[in-house]
């Protein structure tokens, strides 16, 4: 399935939304591996634990939390990789004959101050 072994770094230092994100790992039964179950937004570790407990306390015996921006991530299929692949496939041509960026909206962010 994975055709290439080369993994690229996945950026993870800008995932606060806007509060800091904490990766959550839980274990239900003895002998199970810790399982990654997503992330919670929280200002501190204890707040993250409180938050994760409300979501997973009914299920988990163990809850581990790790700041999302402290996790080094490498993947063969991050968004950047697939964007690169598509760019290679397209060879600079997006296949459309029509211009996709309309001149008036290309500068829409300039109209930001209503």
């Amino acid at each position: 399935m994975v055709e290439k072994a080369r993994r690229s770094a996945v950026e993870s230092d800008e995932r606060g939304n806007p509060t800091r994100q904490w990766e959550v790992f839980v274990r239900n039964e003895e002998g199970d591996p810790m399982r990654h179950v997503g992330s919670v937004a929280a200002a501190s570790g204890s707040e993250a634990h409180e938050h994760a407990s409300r979501l997973f306390g009914w299920y988990a015996a163990d809850i581990w939390l790790c700041p999302a921006d402290e996790v080094e991530r490498y993947s063969t299929r991050g968004l950047v990789d697939t964007a690169q692949e598509r760019s290679d496939d397209d060879n600079g041509d997006d296949g459309s004959e029509e211009q996709r960026v309309y001149e008036e909206t290309a500068g829409a962010s300039e109209v930001n101050s209503l």
Binding site: V10, E11, S12, E14, R15, G16, N17, P18, T19, Q21, V26, N28, R35, H36, V37, G38, S39, V40, A41, H51, R54, L55, F56, W58, Y59, A60, R73, S75, R77, G78, L79, V80, T82, A83, Q84, R86, S87, D94, G95, S96, E98, R100, V101, Y102, E104, T105, A106, G107, A108, S109, V111, N112, S113, L114
Partner: protein
């Protein structure tokens, strides 16, 4: 999403084409059975917004956020959704129109077979923008207005926002883009509801979506501004009355409710009182097929940094990030006990929801509101406004066989 007009007026609404609970859009039947089981995906394309609304679930800011997708990353993300078979992508924000590449991304989504729809505050939609979005393949624009001018502008933190939104709506209608209103009902703006509908019908609008306040983002800070359950019931009754009044006059407006599935039960009761048992049964059966609250099943959200959420309102918890692994993989991972529980919530619901006779059309309402208010994921939705006898029933089937 619950269509009052469909249920009560048997309107052959265009909205029937897509499944009921989908995003704010409408089209002729064209989505396959398989695709209907995939979620509508709300994408907060940017955190940036030109307004600062007091109830914003996304906590949008006037400044750009770090970590937003580049155009290339956004296209890869849209590829993920297309590969997964998501039927609809709802471009949301922040205000999606502040992204320079919105038209390009809408076009890319359409090319990939995703049905692009838009949620916007409308204030940046010029006639040219509306035409460009239409030409790019946009199928629907939902524009937010939250009260008559004075109240709306206070809510939205910008004088003139109401007039600018109405101009945006007019531009969409002028270029033939299907357009609807989004109105989040709170204690402050409930009195304006009817006036806003009247005003916008005059402008040619015929689709009105009423949102209940959910307790995420800045919405969580204004829980106190939410209507009381009783006032909420009255507001929904008002929308139902208003829908019937318009239809009686031959003006077939489409009215929809989002975000509180007590509305489903209420409409069965309303149909029974207004039209009788046979109608109540038809309404109930339709709602049962619809499936109740869609959180974690028929609706998904991806924020501007790639975090996947069970609904757009549940920004505090993420199932995973599409930068780490593809959306479909995250969404299908039922080894996540929370996701599994949301999809089998009947086994977990407590209190009055556990035994409610309307459970199959509501499914416990908002788990996020229950969590925010009680700390218990499976407690009853604090904004359930059903009367005790409606919840309990009287021993018989929820809808009887009067027509037999």
């Amino acid at each position: 999403m619950i269509s009052i007009s469909k249920l009560l007026c048997d309107l052959d609404a265009e909205g029937d084409g897509l499944r009921y609970d989908a995003a704010d859009d409408s089209e002729k039947p064209q989505i396959t059975e398989e695709k209907q089981q995939r979620p509508v995906v709300v994408w907060n394309a940017t955190r940036r917004c030109n307004l600062y609304c007091s109830h914003c679930y996304a906590g949008a800011e006037t400044e750009a956020a770090t970590g937003e997708f580049t155009t290339a990353e956004a296209k890869s993300f849209l590829d993920q959704l297309a590969d997964f078979g998501a039927p609809v992508i709802l471009f949301s924000g922040g205000e999606p129109l502040v992204r320079d590449d919105l038209v390009e991304l809408v076009s890319y989504a359409a090319d990939r077979g995703l049905r692009p729809v838009l949620s916007s505050n409308g204030t940046l939609i010029t006639r040219e923008t509306a035409a460009a979005l239409r030409d790019a393949g946009l199928q629907y624009a939902g524009i937010s207005v939250d009260g008559l001018p004075e109240r709306n502008d206070r809510f939205r933190g910008e004088e003139g926002a109401f007039d600018a939104a109405v101009r945006g709506i007019e531009h969409c209608l002028e270029v033939g883009l299907k357009t609807g209103l989004r109105y989040t009902i709170t204690e402050a703006n409930a009195p304006d509801l009817e006036g806003v509908v009247d005003l916008l019908v005059e402008k040619g609008l015929d689709r009105f979506c009423f949102y209940h306040l959910d307790y995420g983002g800045r919405g969580a800070e204004i829980v106190d501004a939410d209507l009381s359950p009783q006032a909420k019931r009255e507001a929904i009754e008002q929308v139902a009355d208003l829908t019937l009044a318009y239809h009686d006059r031959g003006e077939e407006i489409e009215t929809l409710l989002v975000g509180n599935y007590a509305d489903a039960a209420f409409l069965v009761e309303y149909a029974r009182e207004t039209f009788g048992e046979a109608k109540a049964r038809a309404v109930y059966e339709h709602l049962e097929r619809n499936g109740g609250d869609p959180t974690g099943e028929r609706i998904a959200d991806v924020d501007y940094q790639g975090n996947v959420h069970p609904t757009q309102f549940w920004q505090g918890y993420s199932l995973g990030n599409v930068r780490d692994r593809p959306f479909g993989e995250i969404w299908d991972d039922e080894l996540n006990p929370l996701l599994e529980a949301l999809r089998n919530r009947e086994e977990h619901l407590r209190g009055k929801c556990a035994d409610c006779q309307y459970q199959s059309v509501c499914r416990g309402g908002s788990r996020l509101r229950a969590l925010a208010e009680t700390g218990d994921l499976f407690a009853p939705d604090p904004q359930c406004y059903l009367h005790e006898d409606e919840v309990r029933g009287e021993g018989g089937p929820v809808v009887g066989g009067a027509a037999d």
